[in-house]
Amino acid sequence: MNRYFWILGAFAALVALLAVGLGLNPRDVPSPLVGKPAPAFNLSILATPDKTLGPKDMQGKVWLFNVWASWCVSCRAEHPVLVEFSKNANVPLVGLNYKEVRGDGNFDMSKMPADEEKKLAFQRAEQWLAQHGNPYTLTVMDIDGRVGIDYGVYGVPETYVIDKAGIIRMKHTGPISPDVLAQKIMPLLAELNK
């Protein structure tokens, strides 16, 4: 009898282990960038393409950096949350438009010259924001996705919280739900802004 208890115990332990494992989100890969300075970039601003912006320009401010694209389906789900957030936020929300044209998958990029891609990217991004509302203080354009790689972007949308010293304090992969915003992001912003 004793022996069967032992086997049952081992089985229960295995079930518990699997239950915990199944509850985890395999998409949620911890970013090594948390606690490190936000990687530098210098990208054109959507509304004013002849001007550029980088993390240096945001020094001294706590800010949110949100990766989006018009082709990104989850971004659509997240968008109303961001629009709502921007209405009464005292924190700048900078958008990183990620591979607007080449990420879409509907264009033959080998036939598209770089300047045409750029033009189309700006046009599509503008149009999308006009249509769905613009929660961003401003958006910078990462047309070839190079800055995305520096930020370890692998699944749009992604959001970074960056502090006054330019250190990444949090990364959220996937759409921001009202819960994530209220329970994770807002408290962190409040703490950083103290």
Binding site: P26, V29, P30, S31, P32, L33, K99, R102, G103, G105, M109, S110, G145, G148, I149, D150, Y151, G152, Y154, G155
Partner: protein, 162 residues
């Protein structure tokens, strides 16, 4: 016959498909011309995980990100970066998760040591079981007592043909 043709077509198709999918504009041609660089690219790509389709390397995967990362590796090879520098570049951005062979660290100890520990545990249980069984067999292997012998004799006599 028809089936064979279909299979041949399928094999040809998948081969052709994969080569086309791997084609990646101008830099590809540049590295492809250099077999050493191409080999390094292939080897490095097989060590790096695609973050989108997590059970594939960036060599296997045709996800956008895998293509971008291959392009990145290709550029770095062209710039004369060492393999270690290239791998470090990826780890800084995507973490250890990007490595198909996770490094031995405190946090990965269970991952590396787990199978060995399980095997040792199994061996221990097996040995204990075998030893116990052996003593039991020895214990049971005693010569019969006088009483048992006489009972056995009686039983044997019973079945003896008369």
């Amino acid at each position: 016959m028809k089936r064979r043709i279909l299979i041949a077509l399928f094999i040809f198709g998948s081969f052709f498909g994969s080569t086309v999918a791997f084609a990646d504009a101008a830099t590809e041609a540049a590295t492809a011309a250099d077999p050493v660089a191409e080999k390094r690219l292939q080897k490095l790509s097989e060590e790096l995980r695609c973050l989108v389709c997590q059970n594939q390397t960036i060599a296997d995967s045709n996800a956008e990100l895998a293509q971008d990362l291959r392009r990145e590796v290709r550029t770095m090879i062209k710039d004369g970066k060492t393999d270690q520098e290239i791998v470090d570049f990826m780890v800084v951005r995507y973490g250890d998760f990007v490595l198909y062979r996770p490094p031995l660290k405190a946090i990965t100890l269970l991952l590396w040591g787990g199978p060995v520990a399980l095997m040792l545990l199994g061996l221990f249980i097996l040995l204990r079981y075998l030893r116990r069984r052996a003593t039991r067999v020895i214990a049971e292997d005693q010569p019969l007592s006088a009483d048992e012998t006489s009972r056995a004799d009686a039983l044997l006599k019973e079945i003896e043909p008369k």
